[in-house]
Amino acid sequence: MIEIKDLHKSYKMGSNSLHVLKGINFTVDEGELVAIMGSSGSGKSTLLNILGMLDVADSGEYNLDNVPIKNMNETKAAQYRNKFLGFVFQSFNLINYKTALENVALPLYYQRVGRKERQEKALKYLDQVGLKEWAEHLPNELSGGQKQRVAIARAMAAEPKVLLADEPTGALDSTTSYEVMDLIQKINDQGNTILIVTHEQDIANMCKRIVHLKDGVIIEDKKIKQVRAQQYV
């Protein structure tokens, strides 16, 4: 599903440049649930941004679902993001003047899905995250966990090939975190490919594979036995 070969990325900070990714190689197969771990500054968020086509690598190859991702202009990148990727952010990033339902329907709007169908689909995904009754509520009327669940529903609504989550539990307490992880595991159980950036070991343990980043290189890549979040909820 995802193939990365010798990925490099550096940021210019005034006169000196900061080499963040120093040759990353890894592949993700369909249906995997991968945790990308590392301390801050290890390059994990940069990697996720490149995977999410929000940022561009300096060199290296990136294939997403056998489509080479390179030399993209913004329009093309936007269309690919819309078609292939779902995003979940640490700070939820819901649009605060739109109801939960409208937020979930937004990627479908950019997919040119008709209004009625959009509403139905959005409601279906809201139902999946257990927030059907909250459809007409604005984000500020929801709790942190609920917001993240809406965000997950939004990421899922476009039926992406890969779900990218950047510290999805970073702003949540541990109980809520486990609820969200439970949801992510269930989505993964349905066969969706999910990548999670986290620095919390217990969250990473709930994935099926952990990729450890340090100073821009992968120092460890291992499959683990998944801890189900269900038992903590």
Partner: protein
């Protein structure tokens, strides 16, 4: 641009502008005020323009009056202080020598300019009125509305020196019973009986005559008062394309030559150039229209710039939201068009509201000035002006919207999302 007629587009726009209602309203007020000023000012200016037009409609706009005064310089063996008297043959000379003159009507009268008004009697009723000796051509210069059944003096009246008269509405009221038909009736003017052939209407606006002026044929006046070849004053209308000031100078120069007056003598002949006065007034009104146009457009511009400014702030505030939208698959083009449509939409809403408000104020002004004795009537703004203003607003709204729109897409989604 996806579609302006797509309900979803409008929902997106409604969502983002209703997010901050206060700001939206204040923004809208900027443009609303601009177009309101534009409409109200240009309408008011047009009202003034119409008003002047109405005042002058009964009088030929290129007309002037010339009369004799006394000389102030000795010339050609004459002493100064010589009284000037216009003569009937001056009329023909002027008409022949100055081709710009379209009509020329000699007039003579009693009751104006210091002479005694004449006692006029009908049965038990009487009054003193001014009496004018006129030619039919006079009506070419100052339109006389005549009530049905009557007429003005005609050429045959002149030729035969008929004893007929045209009376005013006040004469009618004071000399006749109500409901009485004055046409064909006789009234005594001085010692002579005249048959009434017409009643002239009060002219609205500028008029050389009052509602109690009685017109009789020039030739009759001449016989009656033994005025010979004398003419009281000349009413002259130049052709529409003629330079009235030049015509006035030419006429006076010619008269000075005929009457053997020093060409430098400015006092010998008096004149009043209505055309010049009129063009000054109309120039003023036009200037006012132009000024209101400039002020209005500038105010609209200021308002639209205000919208651009607010949208710029709005884009800055919404950086994160726009980043999210782009992460979710909004193309730069979609983001850009959304902001431009927002800009145009706000501008249009404000514009339409401003036009309605402006029209309301104009209607109010109209109803307030209806019965007022002021050169002001029917303040309107021509439709092309309104459409023009709307077009300016759409264009400006788009152009101004481009700035924040460009700003919005120039921020990379990654930077937008990183911003806290």
């Amino acid at each position: 641009m996806r579609s302006l007629f797509d309900r979803n587009t409008w929902q997106e726009i409604y969502g983002s502008i209703s997010k901050n209602k206060t700001r939206t309203i204040i923004t809208v007020i900027g443009v609303l005020w601009g177009i309101f000023i534009y409409i109200a000012l240009s309408g008011a200016a047009k009202g003034l323009d119409n008003g002047f037009e109405k005042v002058f409609q009964t009088v030929s706009m290129n007309s002037m009056f010339v009369w004799g005064q006394s000389t102030s310089m000795p010339y050609d063996g004459f002493k100064n202080g010589r009284q000037m008297q216009l003569k009937l043959d001056n009329v023909t000379t002027i008409k022949n020598r100055i081709p710009e003159v379209q009509y020329i009507a000699p007039r003579i009268n009693l009751g104006n300019f210091g002479s005694e008004p004449v006692l006029t009697v009908r049965g038990q009723k009487s009054g003193t009125y001014s009496i004018n000796g006129d030619y039919p051509v006079y009506t070419k210069i100052a339109t006389k509305g005549i009530f049905d059944g009557g007429r003005f003096i005609n050429d045959e009246d002149i030729r035969q020196a008929r004893k007929i008269c045209v009376i005013g509405e006040r004469n009618l009221k004071e000399l006749f019973e109500e409901d009485e038909n004055p046409i064909g009736a006789y009234i005594r003017i001085g010692d002579i009986y005249f048959q009434v052939v017409g009643v002239h209407k009060i002219a609205t606006g500028v008029s050389f005559d009052s509602d109690s002026s009685i017109f009789i044929p020039f030739s009759t006046f001449r016989k009656l008062y033994n005025s010979g070849e004398n003419v009281g004053y000349l009413c002259i209308a130049a052709y529409d394309d003629a330079d009235v000031v030049q015509v006035e100078t030419d006429i006076k120069a010619l008269l000075k030559k005929i009457h053997r007056v020093d060409p430098k003598d400015e006092r010998a002949f008096g004149s009043f150039n209505l055309g010049e006065a009129f063009s000054k007034v109309m120039g003023f009104a036009q200037g006012l229209t132009f000024l209101s146009l400039v002020v209005g457009v500038a105010t609209i511009l200021a308002g639209v710039i205000g919208i651009g400014n607010i949208l710029l702030i709005s884009v800055k505030e919404r950086t994160k939201e726009l980043g999210v939208r782009r992460a979710l698959g909004a193309t730069p083009r979609e983001v850009r068009s959304q902001i431009i449509v927002e800009s145009v939409f706000l501008t249009m809403i404000a514009g339409v509201m401003g036009i309605i408000l402006g029209a309301g104020v104009l209607a109010l002004i109209n109803s307030l000035t209806q019965d007022i004795d002021m050169p002001y009537s029917n303040p309107t703004v021509p439709i092309p002006y309104v459409l023009g203003a709307l077009a300016i607003m759409v264009i400006m709204g788009t152009l101004i919207g481009l700035i924040p729109a460009q700003r919005a897409v120039s921020i990379r989604p990654i930077d937008a999302l990183r911003e806290e």
